[in-house]
Symmetry: D2
Subunit: 272 residues, 4 copies
């Protein structure tokens, strides 16, 4: 006698062992309130960049909202759905507008989000439509008043973000964003060019329990992507080289922020 799917439960492959465990569903369907955890150290820098060089990254229905590119490293600990473990992320986004048949959103398009743990990559891609990929993210380095964040894959360091001149409070926040925008795409098996899913998704800005515990500005920031060969980065070279080709202008804003609390992203919704 084969199994049936429980209604309204969250499943991911393999479905053969019942509903999945993950950020939005724990044992016995338990939810995580994210009221006081995770703890995050967020290192972020925003740079000017020519809008014309960012337009080619916009999926159908999207346009560049401001000529800027944002780099964000987050070092997370005390994650409840991982029983207190942590993992780290490195995201690249661009202020963008989505104008669909119904929705019109001024948000930020997530170009790519690297993470150093496979489990949240799978749940984030499939349940949420986040463009998550794997890389190694060593712990943040602090040395002689500077902060250094690094990303590598199989020993090839493809990106570094350095913050210098730490001190003082950051300027008032950047212009408001309605949330993080994604283009969810799942290929159809055995049919190159066809998709099981191809739609736009929004992570609304509001909601959740994120609270800032401390924040410090950086006077300057430096972000470098290192061009690679296919041999060095056989799964990432086209992404890393494309980002290396974006000329960065001045650093608009850079900071290190410690936060607690979050949301489980179950409010993720499809736009049309």
């Amino acid at each position: 006698m084969s199994y049936s799917f429980l209604p309204d439960a969250r499943y991911r492959m393999p479905t053969h062992f019942g509903p999945s465990l993950g950020p939005r569903q724990g044992p016995e369907g338990r939810r995580y309130d994210c009221r006081n955890t995770p703890h995050q150290v967020i290192v972020r820098a925003e740079f000017e960049a020519p809008a014309a060089r960012l337009e080619p990254f916009m999926p159908p229905g999207f346009s560049v909202r401001r000529g800027e590119i944002h780099f964000t490293f987050s070092y997370m600990t005390e994650i409840a759905w991982l029983a207190g473990r942590g993992y780290d992320t490195f995201g690249v986004s661009v202020p963008a507008r989505y104008a669909g048949s119904t929705d019109r959103i001024d948000g930020d398009l997530l170009l790519v989000l690297w993470e150093n743990m496979a489990d949240p990559i799978t749940s984030g891609r499939e349940e949420l439509g986040f463009s998550k990929l794997f890389c190694d993210l060593p712990p943040l380095r602090r040395h002689e008043g500077e902060i250094m964040c690094e990303a590598s894959w199989d020993g090839f360091r493809f990106a570094t973000l350095r913050l210098a001149g730490l001190g003082g409070t950051p300027d008032a926040a950047a212009q408001a964003s309605q949330g993080l925008l994604h283009y969810k795409y799942i290929p159809r098996t055995g049919a190159p060019g066809e998709a099981d899913a191809a739609y736009v998704v929004l992570t609304p800005a509001e909601g959740g329990h994120l609270r800032v515990e401390s924040q410090i500005a950086a006077r300057d920031a430096f972000c470098i992507f290192h061009r690679a060969t296919w041999e060095e980065l056989p799964t990432l070279v086209h992404i890393v080289d494309a980002l290396a080709d974006v000329p960065l202008g001045r650093c608009i804003r850079a900071s290190v922020t410690e936060t607690r609390g979050a949301k489980d992203l179950s409010d993720q919704r499809i736009l049309s």
Copy 2:
């Protein structure tokens, strides 16, 4: 000006940087012939198990074909699409029949396939519908005439396979299988219980360039799954405990096989 999707090209998230790189598509759309690579050391053991204990793992349309469960560790090197790197896998399968509205296949249902590298997990889940998950797979250990394969997650060793009494040639192959069967399931974002994809997929047995370079039988094999707490395996506990609950009978057949060649699995097809 936003980008358009190239027709017939393979894409995975992020789609913003053009067609993806992976096992079935290299730079400039290059394919990999898999004629002489990868190299694999395959450690495999098949056990009797009560069909009634395996039926609950069968998705809709499936039934147990024989009361058996198979464990396969593969240690791969010289993988062309990874520019000569390698990775390892640990799969669990059950001889099963799929009877759909059109197709009727006597194959093996892949219950789960653990891999120790994130990149092929993503492409395999999304392009192929393989039930791939991450775990650590240390190198195979050979010591005093025995072979030991192990799987762990964050330092918790959840499965071991030990082969003893190595020597001689394996018996004639097991009964024929038409291929590996999968249930591809991708959840729909923001809609628990709904799916972007939920269909059966076949990896046909035929085709490809796999050739055996050497094979040696084992007189006996021992496979143990270690029950875990949610704290120890917060994403895998329901799978590992379910497999630990399957009573294993005698070992039908166990062997270590060295092979070269494979196929790129672009012949994966949807059943109905």
Copy 3:
């Protein structure tokens, strides 16, 4: 023309490339003042244990001072001699007295100090005489008001320390100790049973810049060593099993402490 050794410089193998780099000697002989770094999160628990079970761990000239055994995990970041990187340690010590021909010290004998980085293991063993060994130390886990520290080797988790009931300030410090005691032993090459060095060393308690930034007591603590087979821990089994055999009494004191500052341990001295 061969090289000569610079007088008063610190060397370790290989000596062929000039003076070594390490905690007590940077580029151009630079020293590290350790005034504000490293940052440490120190998780410590002290237990009663029968003195008779601890005596067999005492080297010649040593005796147990109190029937206690102490477990200390330290998670270090911002280490100056590593250019801002970090590493972690897990130490086991016993209050002990050394009575030599000249010196008489009431301190704590370091039974073993596991570290998860090879470089400080080498410099610590050879320059200082610390009984350092390698193991994996995953990041500290905090979950539902508890703290979990773990140590493993090649996927075998051999020790865990759990602190529960966190809150309040720790009791006044334990009885004073004059420092950490070590037995430095370096075997003579090609002569089993003979030694290049076999002497007692003291890390004096005083000196340095360690300052407590926060401290919180735990109501209770639980430390478990897991007995292993030689196959599981081929280099550590005799140590882990011996520690697993020590019956732990009540937890005397347990705490989590955040500190900044340290010393470079160049005041390490040989006792006689």
Copy 4:
């Protein structure tokens, strides 16, 4: 009652738990015969280099024998004293003569031996006097007829060796060597510039059970050391930069060799 040292037993720190476990001493003092294990894949390339640039690496009593520098990567599996586990090494050596008061040996001076496992680094340094240091050594890559070996530390790739044009049998062996030469140096605690041990050691060429199972020559080889900053390689920069400064001439000989068997190096002896 403190412990005593057992006569003729091998000890390393910590000595508090009895004789050590390692390559030359197993449980109950067991020895490993190394008759059929470990298995090694050895990738080796020898280059011409100006003797004048190698002389500064010679310790007192040594001189360059031939203007050559040799790079050897070894990928080891089935190591008996590790219960069948493996680890990898990357060594750099120079043909050298040691002329002491008694001994005169034409051998090869081991400038440095990197290994990717901490346990054999400790036993090899202290028991044998090998100049072992830690680095990451990913698995050997084979791709499109070439072989690539790499060494990195914390994500900084500091050396690569590439063999091209594989095929045919290597030329007759290089000129004979009486063994591998080492300068063992252990600093005295608390006394910069003083040593507990500073003597020359020989690994005799003869003895042991190493047998070649297959060997293939390479038409050419390329070895590159990448200069680093202190921030990138805070413990290795002086070594890597010095090796990067050695101008390499033509490749004299390069090969890939598979072997079985070894010796436990208990015949290591002090020269004078």
